[in-house]
């Protein structure tokens, strides 16, 4: 669409301005949102949630609690059965879904790199379809590789030539490519070994490009939630149980929260059972 060019370049900027002007107000809002699977079984029930500008909200919960569904509702990979979701003050129905997704970075556990593209093409795909000039894309890719701690020489490699940790760094770089104001991350470090995972978590925390972005992060790992989240939303069987700051979460007496804390209490005493 060559005549859509100024629209494509123009819109995200106005959205950015809008996002920045409503600091700390809700960037993503869920109003009584429910989602039912095709067979009618409820996966998400009556969810009310406001995600603020610049925060990192962690959706914590066990498998099947509805956290991934919540995430996919935000970038409209799924459509809610009932209720309303607003992004940047606009209802999802009013959004051009392609525009919406291009201002939302998306990172998934399986990474989903395009196996037939080089690392450079993978990272530069959204800028390319947004018609950035070539040398600007090249510069951006180099900048991003550096930012996520990868050797810029990897740009010409293919995903299969990289390790799991390297691939997930590319995944993060790809999501950041067009500098989206919102970042959705679905257990991005879940498939990595513990040491690599810890390293990537620390790097993500320190990532300069993350500043000012609204991040929604899905995990079932309490330690990861406490490390990365400014607020934690605990989901259980499709319902939001608590929505607290990190500190409140540690003090909460809510049974599910307590159960979570107990499950993750480190126990290196070396004694197993008995004694």
């Amino acid at each position: 669409m060559p005549d859509g060019m100024d629209v494509m370049v123009g819109r995200p900027i106005s959205v950015d301005r809008r996002l920045n002007s409503m600091d700390s107000s809700a960037v993503i809002e869920f109003h009584r949102v429910s989602y039912h699977a095709d067979r009618g079984q409820a996966i998400l029930r009556d969810l009310n949630l406001a995600i603020h500008h610049g925060e990192t909200l962690v959706l914590l919960g066990r498998s099947g609690s509805g956290k991934t569904t919540t995430l996919k509702l935000i970038n409209h990979l799924l459509t809610p059965t009932s209720g309303e979701i607003r992004v940047a003050g606009r209802a999802l129905a009013e959004w051009d879904v392609i525009r919406l997704r291009r201002m939302i970075g998306y990172v998934i556990q399986e990474v989903g790199l395009f196996p037939h593209f080089t690392i450079e093409k993978n990272i530069g795909l959204v800028p390319k379809i947004e018609n950035w000039p070539r040398d600007r894309i090249r510069r951006r890719v180099q900048e991003l590789l550096h930012m996520v701690g990868l050797d810029p020489q990897l740009a010409d490699r293919y995903p299969r030539e990289l390790s799991g940790g390297q691939r997930q760094r590319v995944g993060v770089a790809r999501a950041l490519a067009a500098d989206p104001p919102i970042l959705l991350m679905d257990e991005p470090f879940g498939a990595l070994d513990p040491l690599t995972r810890a390293q990537l978590q620390r790097e993500f925390l320190a990532l300069e490009a993350r500043r000012g972005k609204t991040v929604v992060f899905v995990t079932h790992d309490l330690n990861e939630a406490l490390l990365l989240g400014t607020r934690i939303a605990l989901l259980e069987a499709g319902r939001l149980v608590t929505l607290t700051t990190r500190e409140e979460f540690l003090r909460s007496c809510e049974p599910v929260v307590v159960a979570y804390r107990d499950a993750f209490r480190p126990d290196f005493s070396g004694e197993r059972g008995g004694a």
Binding site: R101, E110, F114, I129
Partner: protein, 223 residues
Amino acid sequence: MNLWQFILHNHAEVIQLTLEHIWLVGTSTLLAAAVGMPLGILLTRWPSLRPPILGGANVIQTIPSLALFGFLLPVPWLGARAERLVILALVLYALLPLIRNTYAGIQSVDPSVIEAGRGMGLTDRQLLFQVELPLALGVIVAGFRVATVLSIGLATIAAAVGAGGLGEYIFRGLAMVDNTVILAGALPAAALALLADVGFGWLEKRLSPQLARRAGSASATPS
């Protein structure tokens, strides 16, 4: 007269019949691709179309080729020229492998790759042409391989309705009870089929490595 002498003596005719043969197969395969590939893509978008379309293409395969030529003979425009009729019949036979492999190739693309693409804001078109089709290419070429080899064999029967091709020699040899003449048609046809098989096989391998090596994630080393 042995086979070599026959071929040398009639080399102009052998070449002409071979070219006719290639023309019948090439034209029909391209036409079948023009119909079959879009149909295969359609099946990935509307799964409910799968049973009727794949079923239909399957049924066509079960019709004996000589009978199909016979059925098509009385059709007005088609019957007027034998090669039209033969090309249509070959198109019908080539549809199944092309539809099925296009469909299967796209279905075999890693779902997480599609999800990532969709999540990044690729349009359906971009997803199809930049991700799904390139990744399905190896499997689609395998469909071409099957379709072409099949058509080269079937096209020998085209001579029965007067459409030319290497089948001319086979039918002539049968009528003359002369094995040399039969072989003068059968051997070049077999060589063509072999050539197509090796050529497409090579292409298929060249286009698939990304897919084959994709699943290496489990063996990844920490960085």
